[in-house]
């Protein structure tokens, strides 16, 4: 009997400790558990209390005297207030728009460039690659970049939030590294069958690199979503501000965003609103993250090794 049960049971047991490694002492084990719990708590604790506060009613917040740790009365009021028009709603729309358009543009440009540079020995391969790499070592600086963007007439244009950061050489190098790792035989045989480079890229290379393109798209998307300083530099019209800028004025500078809430409301109520804006800034990342997270290591390592 036991011999039959054993294989099934073994599948669930974790991989064994190597025979040469001694069993850690009880104190060491406990220390490890405590340390790791602290690390996890340090990340998740703040997020928990902020999300909970954003969902709490004014009475609960007043009773807690600030951020809520013990759940009380739960309400969606803060979110209802935020998304019912006004500055925050506008800022969310701006951020979503810039993120979607920017990520699409960046991905098209980067994938094309990475594929174009994925064959060493092709015409002008080295000079083109160096054109990219040099920008990783030299950067122009803030003042000339500002002068250029304003010279192009992009001040107060949403394009100023997209074009200057549209190309990330680091991301292109990661993609190129992956494309170069694809078996040449497959690509060559497609070429013999008469497929153009465009077709090879679209029908063979891209389907084979879904994971890495998803990670790069996340990197770009997060970059656009989090972009704060470009907006501070290039956007003067407060109606065009993205969410990160509104988050700063709302939470850090304590500005009561005009058209958002009545002045008569108490501080505790606006705390829930502040927390709701913070949560709003996190949500897109939390939504996409679980699907892409497991591929990070691979993507980052390709970039580190081949770059």
């Amino acid at each position: 009997m036991t011999t039959i049960i054993k294989p099934a049971a073994r599948r669930r047991t974790p991989p064994a400790r190597p025979v040469w490694e001694e069993e850690p002492s009880a104190i060491a084990k406990a220390g490890k558990v405590v340390l790791l719990s602290l690390v996890v708590l340090a990340v998740l604790g703040p997020l928990y209390t902020i999300v909970l506060t954003s969902l709490s009613s004014q009475a609960t917040i007043t009773q807690a005297g600030g951020l809520v740790i013990v759940p009380g009365e739960i309400t969606l009021d803060a979110y209802r207030q935020i998304i019912s028009g006004g500055v925050v709603t506008r800022a969310v729309l701006v951020s979503v728009g810039v993120t979607v358009v920017g990520t699409l543009l960046s991905m098209v440009v980067s994938v094309l460039c990475a594929y174009g540079l994925s064959r060493p020995g092709s015409f002008a391969h080295t000079p083109l690659l160096f054109t990219l790499l040099i920008t990783m070592f030299f950067s122009a600086g803030m003042i000339p970049s500002y002068l250029l963007v304003s010279g192009l007439g992009l001040i107060n244009s949403y394009w100023a939030l997209i074009l200057p950061t549209a190309v990330s050489v680091f991301n292109i190098i990661i993609l190129r590294g992956f494309f170069m790792g694809i078996d040449r035989g497959i690509l060559d045989s497609a070429r013999i069958d008469g497929a153009s480079e465009w077709r090879i890229l679209a029908q063979i290379v891209l389907p084979m690199s879904k994971a890495v393109t998803a990670v790069i798209a996340l990197f770009y998307g997060v970059g656009y979503w989090n972009a704060f300083f470009n907006a501070v530099l290039y956007i003067n019209d407060s109606a065009k501000n993205p969410l990160q800028v509104v988050l700063r004025s709302y939470v850090l500078q304590g500005v009561t965003v005009p058209g958002q809430i009545d002045v008569g409301q108490g501080a505790a109520a606006s705390l829930a609103l502040q927390m709701a804006v913070i949560v709003l800034a996190m949500v897109p990342i939390l939504l996409v993250y679980p699907f892409v997270q497991k591929h990070f290591t691979k993507g980052v390592m390709i970039g580190a090794v081949k770059g």
Partner: protein
Amino acid sequence: MTTTDLASDRQRNAGPDGGSPPGASRPVRRKLGVRARLRRDRTLILMTMPAVILLIVFAYIPMLGNVVAFQDYSPFIGIPSSPWVGLDNFGRVFGDPDFWNAVRNTLVITGFQLVFFFPVPIALALLLNSLIRPALRATIQAIVYLPHFFSWVLVVSVFQQLLGGAGLLSQTLRANGWDGMDIMTNPDTFLFLITSQAVWKDAGWGIIVFLAALAAIDPEQYEAAAVDGANRWRRMWHVTLPGLRTVIILLLILRLGDALTVGFEQLILQRDAVGAEAAEVLDTFVYYTGIQNGDWSYAAAAGLIKGVISLALILAANKVAHLFGENGVYSKS
């Protein structure tokens, strides 16, 4: 020779009945004429063009724009008409106590983070690497990577809510009869504050490279060391740390090259609350003198000084790495 190669190349592109197999054609490919290669690879070149053009416009042209550092630039008459003043702006920058304050703050912050931030990912990676259960490890990894994807505004906001004057810490202290404290606006604890923010945001992300390096260490080395009687700590000292050496040196070099760049967004967000005395770094100095006060040439000069010193630092650090027999960022050859 060339004409036959061309012909076979054309045939190869033409269809399945084309001449030589692709593997065999590779060594010959080099001998193709320039025009033939250009013709063959024109699609590839076309594909790189959008990125190259964007880089030329938004990275290379601004490099030329640094000439305003040698001018008395006025936005109303533009770069071509602005008068040249030679090195005057650089002289002014070097004589400015505010600039030196920014330099000092930058170096102090970098130094502090090198000591208190840099080792954290290594320690975390060792800790995670010692976990045997893969599922637990993957879960904790996913959690510690997460804050890397939050914006600085978000991170500073979170800290403000926890440690600020009206934040969770003060609120807890007051509830227990103590005085509340405002860590967010205290210049004395500022270094500690921004370093813990950096640790919270990026220490988890920093472990990726170390975990990969740890995974690459041959388990037989551990086994051999254990057979030779090395205990847990000895094995860490003689097997694990040498295995991480290359990565640690590489990251130290990168950090040194970035010595004059400390989290720009992070600091600009908190400069007003803490004051320029403690929170002004080179990047914020350039921003406030140039873009806020309109002293373009002066700020460009300060930015250029920073860029040149940074480049020199990274080249020097790489040189040192070569002297120690490590690969550095780029290899010697």
